[in-house]
Protein backbone atom coordinates (compact mmCIF):
# COMPACT_ATOMS: atom_id res chain seq x y z
CA UNK A 1 0.00 0.00 0.00
CA UNK A 2 1.45 3.37 -1.02
CA UNK A 3 -0.11 5.38 1.78
CA UNK A 4 -0.82 3.11 4.74
CA UNK A 5 -3.04 4.33 7.57
CA UNK A 6 -1.36 5.95 10.56
CA UNK A 7 -4.45 5.63 12.74
CA UNK A 8 -7.55 3.49 12.56
CA UNK A 9 -10.85 3.03 14.38
CA UNK A 10 -13.36 0.31 13.54
CA UNK A 11 -16.78 -0.42 15.03
CA UNK A 12 -19.70 -2.70 14.30
CA UNK A 13 -22.91 -1.31 15.72
CA UNK A 14 -26.64 -1.94 15.86
CA UNK A 15 -29.05 -0.07 13.59
CA UNK A 16 -30.29 2.43 16.18
CA UNK A 17 -30.43 6.15 16.78
CA UNK A 18 -27.90 5.65 19.58
CA UNK A 19 -25.47 4.40 16.92
CA UNK A 20 -25.94 7.61 14.95
CA UNK A 21 -24.99 9.71 17.98
CA UNK A 22 -22.11 7.39 18.89
CA UNK A 23 -20.56 7.47 15.42
CA UNK A 24 -20.85 11.26 15.28
CA UNK A 25 -18.97 11.49 18.59
CA UNK A 26 -16.35 8.98 17.45
CA UNK A 27 -15.81 10.91 14.20
CA UNK A 28 -15.39 14.14 16.15
CA UNK A 29 -12.82 12.57 18.48
CA UNK A 30 -10.98 11.02 15.54
CA UNK A 31 -10.81 14.26 13.56
CA UNK A 32 -9.61 16.21 16.60
CA UNK A 33 -6.32 14.33 16.49
CA UNK A 34 -5.32 15.81 13.16
CA UNK A 35 -5.25 19.57 13.56
CA UNK A 36 -8.55 20.57 12.01
CA UNK A 37 -10.21 23.66 13.46
CA UNK A 38 -13.47 23.48 15.41
CA UNK A 39 -15.68 24.32 12.42
CA UNK A 40 -14.00 21.68 10.25
CA UNK A 41 -14.29 19.08 13.00
CA UNK A 42 -17.98 19.88 13.45
CA UNK A 43 -18.57 19.62 9.70
CA UNK A 44 -16.68 16.33 9.41
CA UNK A 45 -18.67 14.90 12.33
CA UNK A 46 -21.92 16.06 10.73
CA UNK A 47 -21.02 14.45 7.39
CA UNK A 48 -20.22 11.15 9.10
CA UNK A 49 -23.43 11.45 11.12
CA UNK A 50 -25.43 11.88 7.90
CA UNK A 51 -23.74 8.82 6.38
CA UNK A 52 -24.66 6.84 9.48
CA UNK A 53 -28.26 8.07 9.35
CA UNK A 54 -28.39 6.80 5.77
CA UNK A 55 -27.06 3.42 6.88
CA UNK A 56 -29.29 3.02 9.94
CA UNK A 57 -32.51 4.48 8.53
CA UNK A 58 -32.47 4.05 4.77
CA UNK A 59 -30.08 1.11 4.40
CA UNK A 60 -30.87 -1.11 7.35
CA UNK A 61 -34.32 0.28 8.16
CA UNK A 62 -33.57 0.11 11.92
CA UNK A 63 -33.50 -3.69 11.57
CA UNK A 64 -32.29 -5.61 14.59
CA UNK A 65 -30.78 -8.16 12.20
CA UNK A 66 -28.60 -5.71 10.31
CA UNK A 67 -25.48 -3.93 11.54
CA UNK A 68 -23.55 -0.84 10.58
CA UNK A 69 -19.82 -1.24 9.99
CA UNK A 70 -17.64 1.78 10.65
CA UNK A 71 -14.00 2.23 9.67
CA UNK A 72 -12.07 5.46 10.19
CA UNK A 73 -8.54 5.74 8.85
CA UNK A 74 -5.96 8.48 8.72
CA UNK A 75 -3.21 8.49 6.13
CA UNK A 76 -0.54 11.12 5.72
CA UNK A 77 -2.79 12.94 3.26
CA UNK A 78 -6.40 12.13 4.16
CA UNK A 79 -8.96 11.21 6.76
CA UNK A 80 -11.18 8.44 5.41
CA UNK A 81 -14.51 7.47 6.98
CA UNK A 82 -16.28 4.35 5.73
CA UNK A 83 -19.87 3.57 6.75
CA UNK A 84 -21.45 0.37 5.46
CA UNK A 85 -24.96 -1.00 5.86
CA UNK A 86 -26.53 -4.35 5.00
CA UNK A 87 -29.56 -3.03 3.15
CA UNK A 88 -30.76 -3.50 -0.38
CA UNK A 89 -28.58 -0.74 -1.82
CA UNK A 90 -29.47 2.52 -3.46
CA UNK A 91 -28.64 4.59 -6.50
CA UNK A 92 -26.98 7.89 -5.55
CA UNK A 93 -27.68 9.26 -9.02
CA UNK A 94 -31.39 9.06 -8.23
CA UNK A 95 -31.16 11.48 -5.31
CA UNK A 96 -33.06 14.68 -6.18
CA UNK A 97 -31.12 17.95 -6.09
CA UNK A 98 -32.24 19.58 -2.82
CA UNK A 99 -31.34 23.04 -4.13
CA UNK A 100 -33.66 22.96 -7.12
CA UNK A 101 -36.82 25.06 -6.77
CA UNK A 102 -39.12 22.04 -6.92
CA UNK A 103 -37.25 20.38 -4.03
CA UNK A 104 -36.24 23.31 -1.85
CA UNK A 105 -39.27 22.90 0.46
CA UNK A 106 -38.98 19.15 0.81
CA UNK A 107 -38.76 17.91 4.37
CA UNK A 108 -35.97 15.43 3.59
CA UNK A 109 -33.25 14.61 1.08
CA UNK A 110 -30.38 16.85 2.21
CA UNK A 111 -28.10 14.28 3.85
CA UNK A 112 -25.92 13.38 0.87
CA UNK A 113 -25.82 17.03 -0.15
CA UNK A 114 -24.37 17.96 3.27
CA UNK A 115 -21.82 15.14 3.07
CA UNK A 116 -20.63 16.46 -0.28
CA UNK A 117 -20.59 20.04 1.02
CA UNK A 118 -18.41 19.22 4.02
CA UNK A 119 -16.08 16.55 2.66
CA UNK A 120 -13.66 16.54 -0.26
CA UNK A 121 -14.95 13.27 -1.69
CA UNK A 122 -18.02 11.09 -1.21
CA UNK A 123 -17.93 7.68 -2.88
CA UNK A 124 -20.60 4.98 -2.98
CA UNK A 125 -19.92 1.29 -3.38
CA UNK A 126 -22.52 -1.43 -3.69
CA UNK A 127 -21.93 -4.43 -1.44
CA UNK A 128 -23.81 -7.69 -1.46
CA UNK A 129 -25.84 -6.87 0.39
CA UNK A 130 -25.60 -3.23 1.30
CA UNK A 131 -23.97 0.06 0.49
CA UNK A 132 -20.66 1.53 1.65
CA UNK A 133 -20.15 5.27 1.77
CA UNK A 134 -16.58 6.52 1.86
CA UNK A 135 -16.09 10.10 2.97
CA UNK A 136 -12.67 11.64 2.44
CA UNK A 137 -11.27 14.83 3.94
CA UNK A 138 -7.86 16.03 2.82
CA UNK A 139 -5.29 16.91 5.43
CA UNK A 140 -3.50 20.07 4.41
CA UNK A 141 0.21 20.60 4.87
CA UNK A 142 -0.13 22.92 7.86
CA UNK A 143 -2.21 20.50 9.89
CA UNK A 144 -0.52 18.88 12.84
CA UNK A 145 -1.21 15.43 14.22
CA UNK A 146 0.02 11.90 13.90
Amino acid sequence: MLNPPTARTSLTLASTLATVDRVEQEAEMFAKQFGFDDDEISNIAMAVREATVNAVVHGNGYSGNREVAILFEATTTDLIFRVADQGSGFNPAAIPDPLSPENILRGSGRGVFLMRAFMDRVDFRQLSPGTELTLTKHRTANKAGV
Partner: protein, 115 residues
Amino acid sequence: MSIKVSTRQVDGVTILDLSGRITLGEGSVTLRDTIRDLLAKGDKNILLNLGDVSYIDSSGIGELVSAFTSVKNAGGELKLLNLTKKVHDLLQITKLYTVFDVKDDETTAVGSFTR
Protein backbone atom coordinates in the same frame (compact mmCIF):
# COMPACT_ATOMS: atom_id res chain seq x y z
CA MET B 1 -28.63 16.46 24.73
CA SER B 2 -31.87 16.72 22.82
CA ILE B 3 -34.08 19.75 22.40
CA LYS B 4 -35.94 21.76 25.03
CA VAL B 5 -38.83 24.03 24.11
CA SER B 6 -40.31 26.90 26.12
CA THR B 7 -43.35 28.74 24.81
CA ARG B 8 -44.39 32.33 25.49
CA GLN B 9 -46.77 34.84 23.96
CA VAL B 10 -45.74 38.37 23.00
CA ASP B 11 -48.23 40.69 21.28
CA GLY B 12 -50.08 37.89 19.53
CA VAL B 13 -46.95 36.03 18.49
CA THR B 14 -46.03 32.64 19.92
CA ILE B 15 -42.32 32.55 20.62
CA LEU B 16 -40.69 29.14 20.96
CA ASP B 17 -37.38 29.35 22.79
CA LEU B 18 -35.49 26.26 21.63
CA SER B 19 -32.28 24.95 23.13
CA GLY B 20 -30.13 21.92 22.41
CA ARG B 21 -29.98 19.88 19.25
CA ILE B 22 -32.58 19.48 16.50
CA THR B 23 -31.63 16.12 15.07
CA LEU B 24 -33.14 12.89 13.82
CA GLY B 25 -35.32 11.35 16.49
CA GLU B 26 -36.51 13.10 19.62
CA GLY B 27 -35.41 16.61 18.68
CA SER B 28 -37.22 16.62 15.36
CA VAL B 29 -40.33 14.94 16.79
CA THR B 30 -40.54 17.45 19.64
CA LEU B 31 -40.48 20.37 17.23
CA ARG B 32 -43.03 18.74 14.93
CA ASP B 33 -45.43 17.99 17.79
CA THR B 34 -45.09 21.49 19.22
CA ILE B 35 -45.92 23.14 15.90
CA ARG B 36 -48.82 20.77 15.34
CA ASP B 37 -50.27 21.56 18.78
CA LEU B 38 -49.93 25.32 18.26
CA LEU B 39 -51.70 25.18 14.90
CA ALA B 40 -54.46 23.04 16.43
CA LYS B 41 -55.01 25.81 19.00
CA GLY B 42 -55.09 28.43 16.29
CA ASP B 43 -51.70 29.95 17.11
CA LYS B 44 -50.45 30.74 13.62
CA ASN B 45 -47.88 33.46 14.17
CA ILE B 46 -44.83 31.58 15.33
CA LEU B 47 -41.31 32.80 16.00
CA LEU B 48 -38.64 30.16 16.54
CA ASN B 49 -35.86 31.49 18.73
CA LEU B 50 -32.87 29.34 17.77
CA GLY B 51 -30.32 31.28 19.81
CA ASP B 52 -29.52 28.30 22.02
CA VAL B 53 -29.70 25.65 19.31
CA SER B 54 -26.16 24.39 19.15
CA TYR B 55 -26.59 21.85 16.40
CA ILE B 56 -28.98 20.83 13.67
CA ASP B 57 -28.67 17.98 11.17
CA SER B 58 -30.40 17.34 7.85
CA SER B 59 -33.43 15.92 9.66
CA GLY B 60 -33.63 19.05 11.77
CA ILE B 61 -33.36 21.24 8.68
CA GLY B 62 -36.13 19.19 7.13
CA GLU B 63 -38.23 19.67 10.23
CA LEU B 64 -37.80 23.45 10.06
CA VAL B 65 -38.89 23.37 6.42
CA SER B 66 -41.89 21.19 7.24
CA ALA B 67 -42.85 23.54 10.07
CA PHE B 68 -42.58 26.53 7.74
CA THR B 69 -44.81 24.81 5.18
CA SER B 70 -47.37 23.64 7.75
CA VAL B 71 -47.74 27.10 9.25
CA LYS B 72 -47.94 28.75 5.85
CA ASN B 73 -50.58 26.27 4.69
CA ALA B 74 -52.58 27.07 7.83
CA GLY B 75 -52.57 30.74 6.87
CA GLY B 76 -49.92 31.79 9.36
CA GLU B 77 -46.31 32.85 9.42
CA LEU B 78 -43.23 31.14 10.84
CA LYS B 79 -40.05 33.16 11.29
CA LEU B 80 -36.62 32.42 12.70
CA LEU B 81 -34.79 34.43 15.36
CA ASN B 82 -31.19 34.51 16.59
CA LEU B 83 -29.49 31.96 14.39
CA THR B 84 -26.19 30.60 15.65
CA LYS B 85 -23.34 30.65 13.16
CA LYS B 86 -23.72 26.92 12.63
CA VAL B 87 -27.40 27.10 11.79
CA HIS B 88 -26.91 30.24 9.71
CA ASP B 89 -24.22 28.52 7.64
CA LEU B 90 -26.37 25.44 7.12
CA LEU B 91 -29.31 27.50 5.91
CA GLN B 92 -26.97 29.35 3.56
CA ILE B 93 -25.50 26.27 1.91
CA THR B 94 -28.91 24.62 1.59
CA LYS B 95 -30.25 27.87 0.05
CA LEU B 96 -32.95 28.04 2.71
CA TYR B 97 -31.75 31.31 4.21
CA THR B 98 -33.82 33.27 1.72
CA VAL B 99 -36.83 30.97 2.13
CA PHE B 100 -37.14 31.76 5.82
CA ASP B 101 -37.71 35.23 7.23
CA VAL B 102 -34.72 35.45 9.56
CA LYS B 103 -34.52 38.08 12.31
CA ASP B 104 -31.90 38.97 14.87
CA ASP B 105 -33.96 41.22 17.15
CA GLU B 106 -37.00 39.93 19.01
CA THR B 107 -38.93 43.22 19.13
CA THR B 108 -38.44 43.78 15.42
CA ALA B 109 -39.36 40.19 14.72
CA VAL B 110 -42.59 40.33 16.74
CA GLY B 111 -43.57 43.60 15.03
CA SER B 112 -43.03 42.14 11.58
CA PHE B 113 -45.88 39.62 11.72
CA THR B 114 -49.04 40.32 9.72
CA ARG B 115 -52.06 40.52 12.04
